[in-house]
């Protein structure tokens, strides 16, 4: 755990331990971490909380209302974390990972607490008149403002997503660093954003300069992505539909050429009907299977990380995984049926279909786990509303 937290976040957890002891509690719960974050010395979490009127004093008072103060002095030095507090810390690293930050800071810890809706910390906040959603928005306010400045320069570029991702991350790292400098100098976050933006330069002018620095092959990646990748802000269903139509067109074109080639070479040979049936089966079965697979894969990603309106849920993730396995097995069986004209359930195809389904149910989650944080980040950038005033 300790390796995945920044120094400030580790300080906050240590402070939570002290707060719990001073309240006479023999455990560190989400409420103690919240209390520690209101006093976080780096200011990243405490300033956000203070902006919504949450102070160490009123959090402590609220905790004492909800949880009775222990009567005996606590003798244990390092108190155990409650399961919720542990999950909140784990979630903090996940929140950080989504933004390509390997270590979770106090602000990620705060987001982690907000994910534990039933935790005492959330009850304290609600009793103080702040909903978790409001607090989440406040945590992201500065970050979003800086991201929008970067996105105005990067989005218009005719370049592939990996190149844009590199630029977005690097430019955001720079802009965040100068924001921190300006914040230390000016003390006010809105003034610091304005000042950092002016040091950074006009996004439109930067965009023109960046475009001139792009090599020619970026144009090709851009066009390929326009055809085959998700286009913000289209819906998942529309995207999946577009994908399967693309596949259908490609398959038909390839098969017509293939068939013409075979026919010209061999003429009307004996097994030509089997050949035609095989090609037709592939063309009919693949697009609908791909439609469901595309949706299931994206929904699996969303429920694995709990993003884009999906609740974070292992059960949901497993459900989508089973759906993927099922689609693979059913498509293969359908294919076997189409080619042979009949299907014997005790025969080879069934075994093969089950194995393929099982392999898919392992490979897909693995793929989603590997590509998830990048694709979530790309999507978050692409969905930013850069027209609205920041």
């Amino acid at each position: 755990m300790a390796q995945t937290l920044t120094n400030q976040a580790r300080e906050a957890v240590a402070l939570a331990n002290e707060e719990a002891r001073s309240l006479g509690h023999e455990y560190v719960g989400t409420e103690h971490i919240l209390l520690a974050l209101t006093r976080d010395s780096s200011g990243t979490a405490s300033k956000t909380l203070a902006a919504l009127g949450i102070s160490p004093e009123n959090v402590r008072a609220e905790i004492e209302k909800l949880v009775r103060r222990g009567s005996n002095p606590v003798t244990i030095r390092t108190l155990p974390l409650t399961p919720r507090a542990m999950r909140a810390i784990d979630d903090a690293t996940l929140e950080a990972a989504v933004f390509n930050e390997k270590c979770a800071g106090p602000e990620h810890l705060l987001l982690g607490l907000l994910n534990e809706g039933e935790g005492v910390a959330c009850h304290v906040l609600i009793n103080l008149g702040v909903t978790p959603a409001e607090l989440r928005k406040e945590v992201f306010r500065v970050r979003l403002a800086l991201m929008k400045i970067v996105e105005r320069a990067v989005r218009p570029l005719p370049a592939g997503t990996p190149t844009k991702r590199k630029m977005r991350e690097e430019l955001l790292a720079h802009l965040s660093a100068i924001y921190q400098e300006e914040l230390a100098r000016l003390g006010d976050s809105s003034a610091a954003i304005r000042s950092a933006a002016s040091r950074f330069g006009d996004p439109a002018a930067l965009s023109t300069e960046l475009q001139a620095s792009l090599p020619a092959h970026e144009q090709l990646s851009y066009l390929a992505e326009r055809l085959f990748a998700w286009r913000a802000p289209e819906s998942i269903v529309y995207y999946a539909l577009r994908q399967s139509l693309n596949t259908l067109c490609i398959l038909i074109t390839v098969f017509v050429v293939l068939f013409a080639g075979v026919w010209l070479r061999f003429g009307w040979f004996d097994n030509i009907w089997t050949f035609i049936r095989t090609l037709a089966a592939i063309a009919v079965i693949t697009p609908p299977a791909q439609f469901v697979l595309t949706i299931a894969t994206i929904k699996m990603r969303d429920s694995l990380w709990g993003v884009f309106g999906s609740r974070k849920s292992l059960a949901q993730t497993i459900w989508y995984d089973s759906l993927i396995a099922l689609i693979f097995a059913v498509s293969l069986m359908a294919f076997a049926y189409a080619v042979r004209g009949s299907v014997d359930l005790e025969n080879e195809p069934l075994k093969f279909a089950i194995i393929a389904g099982l392999v898919a149910s392992v490979l897909f989650p693995l793929l989603v786990r590997l590509t998830g944080t990048n694709s979530i980040r790309d999507t978050q950038w692409a969905l930013l509303d850069i027209e609205a005033a920041s």
């Binding site: 400030q8 390509n100 390997k102 320069a153 690097e170 950074f200 300069e209 960046l210 620095s213 090599p215």
Partner: protein, 114 residues
């Protein structure tokens, strides 16, 4: 003295970046800092403009970049570290020689009032 702004720097920025990297690898913010110190604060550059120049240098193979290693307790998004390649070193030396010739030639004409 008037500060030297973006327009006048155009065309020279890449060579200046190579020169700052001769002192060792650095990320964007550090390159700007070295430019500012080296130019006695007279170089006025919009900080974002550094990156198109860096990307051009990277595409040409004059600099190489790698993502910043994660450090304990570091916060914020990751930046990239740039370093001079041997090709970049040669370009810098040639650029320097060209610049010397330019300054000596024009200096000879401009420096002496009639």
């Amino acid at each position: 003295m008037e500060p030297i702004s973006g327009d006048k720097l155009r065309g020279h920025l890449e060579l200046l970046i190579l020169a700052t990297l001769e002192r060792g690898e650095a990320h964007g913010l550090e390159i700007l800092r070295r430019l500012e110190v080296g130019g006695c604060g007279l170089l006025k550059l919009k900080e974002g403009s550094l990156y198109p120049a860096l990307y051009r240098l990277e595409a040409a193979g004059h600099v190489a970049a790698s993502w910043e290693r994660e450090q304990h307790g570091r916060r914020g998004a990751r930046g990239r570290i740039y370093r001079l390649t041997s090709k970049g070193q040669r370009v810098l030396e040639r650029g320097r020689a060209d610049w010397q010739t330019f300054v000596i030639t024009l200096g000879g004409i401009l420096a002496t009032p009639a």
